[in-house]
Symmetry: C3
């Protein structure tokens, strides 16, 4: 490894305090030539699953980086601090599953280290702000050229904590999944890849049946939500390659009452 | 053209997802030496007019840039993707009027291209995320030195879609306009340039009569809102050179109930 | 002084308008090699005290910078515009106390200048947007190598406006203070340094009595909020070295009803 030109940064710190800037400042002093790409700092406090989803869906579009992610309700307890090599990048954060989906999206972990080399940290280490005092300093040292092995003790990649993958399976002509996330536009992203729906023989331009709880509706499967009539619920393949439900010029999540985690099934509509 | 050191970026993507960062990452890989100045990503979803207003009022203060703007309710439909040369900058986005006021603010379009050169795009192109797959990649190539003519087919600048300019006229001793926008402080920006009000003979320090709907009020025309008494409604020339209504240490938009688009007239107060 | 590689930037401008970007653009044209670290732009409009607190708690983690801070309800009135040398940094903003706590955190003012050199400003100067037209241009010139003395007329550091420091004293076995701020997690930061509480003999792992108004509660003093039971109110030393009250996986500010400024006392719990 010869370092990284970029650091990426995802947290639940919010934008109202100076927390994010303090981390930027610490990084600037260790790796002055690295640039920071902020992914988001508006993950709901402690929502590890949401942080994992946003991170996993974004890293593929970033250059090779030291990716720092901190959604860490267990900060200061016994959860481990880790750095994981995956593809041409390294991910740094708490070992609570937050990094796991992004690691998979980058091709899987090739090496993992528990962060035990305190020489790299900012001291005194706050018990509640490891982003500033451990994760960002270590990532900045990696960006500046430190070998991953120098960051701590190597641990087995099989021992890394992983979040259970979102449900998604195809059986008996039905695609089953759950609501992954709801974006700013109210679009409801399902954990069902468009490729799987294709296997079922569902084609763009045809109607689908969507079942959620006791509710059932027939919606068109279109190229884009903008092709729907205003107010019409449509299914489309979103920018992450997943089936999503949207309302043209409206808020599908609100209209459908489908929160993250809700179970959803999709089948072909057989008229008549 | 020899490229741009800066990209600017305005969208309605919000800050809670990874959409903005994905675009930053795509730009970094094409134009690693360019810097991105984020204008805002909090335009209300689909509010093209608001996006156009913020863009037009900001570009004058930015260095020569490839300005990328994406408020694009018609993404994936037949609306064109364009790049427009204006002054020393180029603007990239959907041809839905979003760029039109900024183009005018920069001195008008000298050349326009429909983005048809797919070699510059990120593939596969998502039907719903042209910011990541078309607009930002093309802008980054322009920043890296690509000639505008290489981005696609030249089109007539007269054929570009433009938003109707906000109403603003002076007649019979009266300045007529509309509410352009409401900022974070609740200041109500009118489409009436201070210069026009000057033509009417209205001078700082004198009272004005403001009419909106059936409402009429006499307010002082001051150098700045901070010169008003706490709670007092005042008119002043804002940082964009437009007449604005404000309440010192208060929220004028809330107090006056004046939303964007509301019709407003201003005349000189003739006491007695 | 030989300039600064970094500018930091804190305001109450919000993120919905183009105000912050206009300032970035102005800086880029004067000091193209400087980088801007945004601290926050979500200070509540006009809340000088909150801006001062966030600035003071963040500057220690930033590299030597020209720190620009603008929370300026008196913009355009007679309040002075200033630049203050403190430690290896310079702070630029209105002379309304906003900078005062950060100046103290950086070791105190060694020199101060009233910004009177209009050659450095952007013209015409808006009466309401000194961030764009005065503060940021001057800071960018300082970053680019201008001597502080060239920015205007030297003034006595003793004449700078300062905000009253937050109450904090220890007497009769009691630590007294006030609520400094509430962060995104709902953690209630007190103005009581952990060091003072240590002087009282209060130790981590032991219970404390917290009094606020007529309310009294006994809470454990723990290493971190994450060590508390879910829903339990705990005291801990926060990342700024101050005593804070938190609820593990909850919102302490909401639960306790303690706004900024509320008076709080802490004593040792003597069971029995």
């Amino acid at each position: 490894m010869t370092g990284f030109r970029y650091l990426s940064f995802l947290t639940d710190y919010g934008l109202e305090d100076g927390f994010v800037a303090a981390c930027h400042g610490v990084a600037a002093q260790i790796a002055p030539d690295a640039r920071v790409i902020d992914i988001t700092h508006l993950v709901q406090p402690g929502d590890v699953r949401r942080g994992a989803a946003v991170l996993a869906q974004t890293v593929a579009y970033l250059p090779p980086s030291a990716h720092v992610a901190v959604v860490d309700p267990g900060v200061g307890t016994t959860r481990r601090a880790i750095a994981v090599q995956a593809g041409h990048s390294v991910l740094v954060g708490p070992d609570n599953g937050l990094l796991s989906w992004a690691v998979a999206a980058l091709g899987g972990a090739s090496m993992a280290v528990q962060l035990t080399n305190g020489d790299l940290w900012r001291h005194p280490v706050s018990a509640t702000f490891h982003g500033r005092d451990i994760f960002m300093p270590v990532a900045a040292h990696l960006a500046a050229g430190l070998e991953l092995a120098e960051a701590g003790d190597e641990i087995a990649v099989a021992d890394l904590m992983t979040l259970p993958a979102p449900t998604s399976r195809v059986h008996d002509g039905e695609a089953e999944g759950e609501v992954m996330s709801v974006d700013r536009f109210g679009n409801v992203q399902l954990s069902i890849p468009a490729a799987e729906v294709g296997v079922l023989g569902l084609r763009i331009g045809e109607p689908l049946i969507v079942r959620a709880g006791r509710r059932q509706m027939t919606v068109p499967y279109l190229e884009t939500f903008a092709a729907g009539a205003p107010g019409e619920i449509v299914a489309f393949t979103d920018s992450a390659g997943l089936i999503s439900l949207a309302v043209n010029a409206g808020d599908a999540a609100q209209q459908l009452g489908l929160p993250p985690g809700a179970h959803v099934r999709i089948t072909q509509a057989h008229p008549g």
